[in-house]
């Protein structure tokens, strides 16, 4: 885009549009395993209806989604699967970790449970609770939205300073391979 039009009205408007579209329509990939997944189902069902936030398109294909929503306990057996799915997602991608288990292992300080998914993938928003209420989860999604906007602004400011865009992939720079 930039190459074609340079820093012109077209690109900036397009970026605004893209920005707006991205932040108002997260397509989550629900990586649901346990009790939290049941509560996630509650979130998409009629009572809470997460589609009001543009996230109704639940995609079970990592290629088509931009938010990985990890709901439920991830244990050591599941870890490689989660990592693989994260790797398959296209940039830009964000991760919401829902529930105590995904965030930190919760009260399972045990031989088979990962002590937080941030051991293998970077997390953007942690939503505590066991399980979080659907409102809590929606709150988390809204927080992510704000964070995306914030990161965008930061990104814009940096590229205005003439830094190469590559280095700052925003929200999830860093520990992807940790």
């Amino acid at each position: 885009m930039n190459k074609m039009f340079g820093e012109s009205w077209v690109t900036t408007t397009f970026e605004t549009l893209e920005d707006w579209a991205q932040r108002n329509s997260f397509w989550p990939f629900p990586f649901g395993t346990a009790c939290c997944a049941i509560e996630f189902m509650g979130t998409v069902s009629s009572h809470y209806d997460v589609s009001r936030f543009g996230s109704e398109v639940v995609r079970f294909s990592p290629r088509q989604s931009d938010v990985l929503l990890v709901a439920g306990t991830i244990n050591d057996k599941m870890a490689p699967v989660l990592k693989k799915i994260y790797d398959q997602m296209a940039e830009p991608r964000w991760v919401i970790s829902m529930g105590a288990c995904a965030c930190s292992g919760g009260f399972y300080r045990s031989y088979h449970v990962m002590q937080g998914i941030d051991e293998i993938i970077p997390v953007d928003v942690y939503v505590p609770g066991c399980p979080p209420t659907p409102e809590g989860l929606i709150y988390g999604i809204l927080q992510l939205k704000e964070k995306v906007v914030r990161d965008r602004k930061k990104l814009a400011a940096r590229s205005a300073q003439g830094r190469p865009e590559k280095e700052t992939t925003g929200a999830h720079a860093g520990s992807a391979t940790a």
Binding site: I38, D76, V81, C101, H112
Partner: protein, 572 residues
């Protein structure tokens, strides 16, 4: 049309353990005195023959294999003890067998040839205790991953010691395909899951397809193994309750009740009438909720999305009730040992009544939508069917068993709480297929509603919500403030936990999936020495490859839903 069959006979006429005992050499079987249930300590050498005899002898007919688990006693010469839990449907009798083995000779014979359902239990025994099961066709880990070293439920295993699973160690299935047909090019092996919505996010199905037909399949579980049993050993008795919530998280309350009843039995206390009354009502509401979730998701798997909304609406309303009782929607922790978490809210009865009027229309809507719907009928009738005799051999219990024509329900067989004081029936269907499993849940919802209605009509019993025993229940805060004694009890209960006397207990309740039992062993310290949960869907799910082999791939998805496999309970 459904037949409402009578409960299993409460009589035991003709049941005679001695008839079996006489066939084996003296000294190879000893009766354990003081055990909570009839228990035999058996020499390992005769186990297989004894088991077969117990199953087939017309005087015992212990045909339902309920449970198997190990216990580790590092101080004993015979370090490991394996406990078998058998039930006789015709005679309505239960027998426990115990086999002790030494550490340097940690081998037990496999009973797979006698009860098919024992297969996964024996793999779990190997996984958790490292006992070799001789004669098992494919003994390998089941819950822990392949990179795991050691056997976690041994007492000398550190509860927090983890192992990393690397890609190269991930399980690759091996199928024994029928030879002779040289059409290997037509066959395709596919892998579904674990992170696949049709596998409910936690199971991995590997199937060999010939066109659309599954000719061989294998499943891998353990993706949600959260070490419930080890965690129970590291927490005190009261603290285990939140962990039980997370077993069958669709009906967490029933787990609470089951666990608390076990501990109450060991302590010799009884919950006060109000708690029992509320436990019965809330258990039934939880059952309704669980059945709704199960049927809702099954129908979604078959493409009928609308029902999902209706079913989940019911669930939301029941959540509201539970939340008003205990403050959480899903993971309720609403029971305490000896009673309930808090007194019932003032509007409890009114809320229950509202729910009673609210649920039937939703149920009716769903039934109108799908009961006679040709598409649903075509996709479910005759799919994944199993006969009653087979299901019993596989160790099934609960709605799935009752859909195959066997009327076993713990609430009737061993009535607990208030189930013997209300009038209700056990629905039984004979199709044994996905459709009848769906229907039976709908029928059970109606029975549950009727139970609740009768209990509500009886009115809430007066009195406290928890036993008034300072060794079990925390004193009220008022007492705490005003009486030094109460304060001391409070302090002791929190610091040391409830002191459960040494001993064993097994109690079961009818979970939403079948017999949900807890076997607890206490050594008199403040923590459980061993706590085993008998997960109803464990044997049910182990049947899955057999159910889907020969069917089409799309049918396998619908079959899974109908079994209502809850990963938290399956893998604990």
């Amino acid at each position: 049309m459904p037949t409402l069959a009578p409960p299993p006979p409460e009589t035991r006429v003709g049941y005679d353990l001695d008839a079996v005992r006489a066939k084996f050499p003296a000294g190879s079987i000893t009766t354990q005195e003081g055990a909570p249930w009839p228990t035999w300590i058996v020499r390992r050498e005769i186990l297989v023959d004894l088991a077969r005899e117990l199953r087939d002898n017309p005087a015992t007919r212990l045909d339902l294999f309920v449970d198997l688990f190990g216990v580790d006693y590092p101080d004993r010469a015979e370090r490991f003890e394996v406990v078998y839990n058998l039930y006789s449907l015709p005679f309505h009798a239960r027998l426990f067998l115990k086999v002790a083995v030494r550490e340097d000779d940690a081998v037990v014979p496999s009973l797979v040839k006698i009860w098919k359902g024992v297969d996964w239990f024996e793999r779990e025994l190997y996984d958790m205790f490292g006992l070799h099961v001789e004669g098992h066709p494919h003994l390998r880990r089941i819950l822990c991953h392949e990179g795991f070293q050691g056997h976690p439920l041994r007492k000398d295993y550190d509860a927090a010691r983890r192992w990393i699973l690397t890609e190269d160690k991930i399980y690759k299935p091996h199928f024994d395909l029928p030879d002779g047909e040289d059409d290997l090019f037509e066959r395709m092996t596919i892998n579904i899951g674990p992170s696949h919505p049709a596998m409910h996010g936690t199971f991995r199905l590997m199937a060999v397809l010939d066109g659309e037909t599954i000719i061989a399949s294998d499943i891998e579980i353990g993706y949600l193994h959260r070490c419930f049993e080890k965690m129970a050993e590291t927490h005190n008795w009261q603290q285990v309750i939140p962990y039980t919530d997370r077993l069958n998280y669709c009906s967490a309350f029933i787990n609470n009740v089951g666990y608390c009843k076990t501990v109450e039995k060991m302590l010799g206390v009884e919950a006060p009438p109000k708690a029992v009354w509320a436990r019965t009502i809330l258990s039934e509401f939880s059952r309704i909720m669980d059945h709704c979730v199960c049927n809702g998701t099954t129908l979604v798997d078959a493409g009928a999305l609308t029902n999902f909304w209706y079913m989940f609406q019911i669930r939301e309303e029941i959540y509201g009730l539970l939340e008003s009782v205990c403050g959480a929607r899903l993971t309720v922790s609403a029971c305490r040992i000896g009673g309930l978490i808090q007194n019932l809210p003032p509007d409890f009865e009114a809320r229950c009544r509202t729910l009673l009027t609210m649920i039937p229309p939703f149920i009716k809507d769903v039934e109108d939508l799908v009961d006679k719907n040709r598409i649903w009928l075509d996709r479910s009738v005759g799919i994944a069917s199993i006969t009653g005799a087979e299901a019993v051999n596989w160790g099934w219990t609960g709605p799935c068993l009752r859909a195959s024509g066997v009327a076993y329900d713990v609430r009737k067989a061993y009535p607990y709480d208030l189930y013997d004081t209300v009038e209700w029936e056990v629905p039984v269907l004979y199709g044994g297929d996905v459709y009848d499993r769906y229907r039976i849940r709908m029928l059970e919802i109606r029975q549950s509603l009727s139970i609740i209605r009768q209990l509500l009509d009886r009115g809430m019993p007066e009195g406290p919500h928890i036993v008034d025993d300072p060794h079990v229940a925390l004193p009220s805060k008022d007492a705490c403030y005003n009486q030094m004694e109460a304060m001391i009890y409070h302090f002791k209960l929190i610091m040391d936990g409830i002191q459960v006397p040494a001993g064993e207990a097994y109690t079961m309740v009818e979970g939403a999936n079948g017999e949900l039992g807890f076997y607890a062993i206490s050594d008199g310290t403040g923590k459980p020495y061993r706590l085993h949960c008998r997960p109803p869907c464990f044997p049910i799910f182990s049947t899955f490859p057999q159910l889907i082999n020969g069917g089409s791939l799309s049918d396998s998805i619908v079959s899974l839903g109908g079994l209502n496999v809850i990963a938290g309970e399956l893998e604990r």
